[in-house]
């Protein structure tokens, strides 16, 4: 009976549509190959991190510039279109450092560290510390308190590039999860609407075939949606709070429901095709589908609208 179902030409056509949709949804995945990251640490001759240094990447092809400042730990990151770049490191009290070529692209970040020598910048101009002459702007006097005066722990002050990469991957996967979840809603609603017609007393098979095809499409899209949520990296030390707990609890209802509904549907489909009235456990197909769709909708709303 499952064979009949999978051979449904409408279902095959809709599966083809899924592939087309996926190509639409995942341009960001594909885009990863056309952009890249250059990151690194800026330090002085003694290896001490230089904070607030300006790192400017200039494309050797287009001349476009992008600047980032180093953080308290001297680290920086630039997200750039793929290509070859010239990097310039500038900081107040240091000579300007230029690196003539850095290739950006692919999935592995390009690591370019800058070691600055003390002294005036090479061009004689002050480094662009983005400091204007404001009436009461912060000065660089020796009395100014530093981060070490505040009693912050090293975990609070040191950057963690690995954790950032994990967060980036998590967000990337959850964005796809979100988009796929929204797309899944469309065939899901259509399948539910067609449900009564497909299971009614009508002898015609057109509505039933369409219901099966849309249900099949929903199942495929749901599987992809679930994959991106399940495979998104977990961030250690994070305690779940807020609507996400309800969102995840709903998955324990719509997840099994999305497995059970097509199984029961296939049984009902087979019974109807044999000219029988839907009977036995297959009768639960409709109610299970409604509960599943309801849980899916509640999960979507819980993270979309603030109640």
């Amino acid at each position: 009976m499952l064979r009949n179902w999978s051979c449904n030409p409408l279902a095959a056509y809709l599966r083809f549509l899924v592939i087309c949709l996926l190509l639409q949804v995942t341009p960001s995945l594909l885009a990863q190959t056309s952009s890249g990251v250059v990151r690194g640490t800026v330090s002085d001759e003694s290896g001490k991190a230089v904070a607030n240094a300006a790192v400017t990447a200039t494309s050797t092809d287009t001349g476009q510039k992008q600047t980032a400042n180093t953080g308290p730990e001297g680290t920086y990151q630039l997200d750039l279109p793929a290509g070859n770049y010239r990097l310039k490191f500038e900081a107040a009290g240091f000579k300007t450092l230029e690196i003539s070529s850095a290739m950006v692209g692919g999935t592995v970040p390009e690591v370019v560290d800058g070691k600055l020598e003390r002294g005036e910048p090479v061009n004689g101009n002050p480094a662009p510390a983005q400091q204007e002459n404001l009436p009461n702007a912060p000065s660089s006097s020796t009395t100014a308190p530093s981060l070490s005066d505040l009693g912050l722990s090293p975990e609070q002050t040191q950057g963690n590039a690995r954790e950032q990469a994990l967060l980036d991957k998590r967000t990337h996967m959850l964005k796809i999860h979100q988009r796929m979840g929204l797309i899944t809603t469309i065939p899901l609603i259509a399948t539910v609407i067609l449900g009564p017609g497909a299971g009614g007393k009508s002898e015609g098979t057109a509505t039933r075939d369409l219901h099966v095809a849309l249900g099949s499409l929903t199942g495929d899209l749901y599987g992809i949606t679930a994959y991106y949520a399940i495979r998104a990296p977990r961030i250690p030390g994070t305690k779940k709070r807020g609507p996400i707990k309800f969102h995840e609890a709903m998955a324990w209802i719509h997840g099994p429901g999305m497995i059970l509904t097509p199984i029961l549907g296939a049984m009902a489909f087979s019974q109807k095709n044999n000219g029988e009235k839907v009977h036995g456990i297959a009768q639960a197909h409709g109610p299970v589908a409604i509960v599943t769709a309801g849980a899916f909708g509640a999960a979507l709303l819980s993270v979309s609208v603030k109640f």
């Binding site: 904070a51 607030n52 980032a68 400042n69 180093t70 953080g71 308290p72 680290t75 920086y76 990151q77 983005q130 400091q131 204007e132 404001l134 009436p135 009461n136 702007a137 912060p138 000065s139 006097s141 009395t143 100014a144 308190p145 530093s146 981060l147 005066d149 505040l150 009693g151 912050l152 609070q156 002050t157 040191q158 950057g159 963690n160 590039a161 954790e163 950032q164 994990l166 967060l167 980036d168 998590r170 967000t171 959850l174 979100q178 988009r179 929204l182 961030i235 994070t238 305690k239 779940k240 709070r241 807020g242 609507p243 996400i244 969102h247 993270v303 979309s304 609208v305 603030k306």
Partner: protein, 178 residues
Amino acid sequence: MNKRILIVFLLVSLPAFGADSEWVLQQSTLTYHVSHPLHQSEGVSHGAKGKGVCHAGQCEFLIAVPVKSFDSGDSNRDLHMIQVTRGAEFPLVTVRTRLPESDATASTINADLEIQFAGQTAQYKQVPFKLETKGGETHITGAIPATLTDFKIDPPSLLTMPVKNDIPIRVDMSWRPQ
């Protein structure tokens, strides 16, 4: 005799003119506000640390807040906030300002702020704050008109709709001189 009086006077008056005095941040509540067509959300941090050092009539202040200390009541949103602001790589928001020591007795001040956040530095001119001194503590309230573009942060989106660019930060701090 007069010489002795003069020496004593100079010794007594030296700390008033030459020595530094310090301010320490006692408690703080920093709240960012994010607007989205479907959501209005706020993240609150009580984790700021701050110190002010005064010398020759000028006070230099430094306040640092761990990005991870902001709590919006939704762990998913907080993680997303940390990701878009590159909070794992740049874990602190630092605010620096310099104020005349005499401002401690004023009821309002306008401060020029230099904020480092998300690997970027932004300056805000003449941000108004209210001051109230009670029981030896100075209570400061105000709002910093921050925006996402100030720090080159891509606006996060929900259901394909991005949040607004403005992310005003309400400040409520109590400082005590040491």
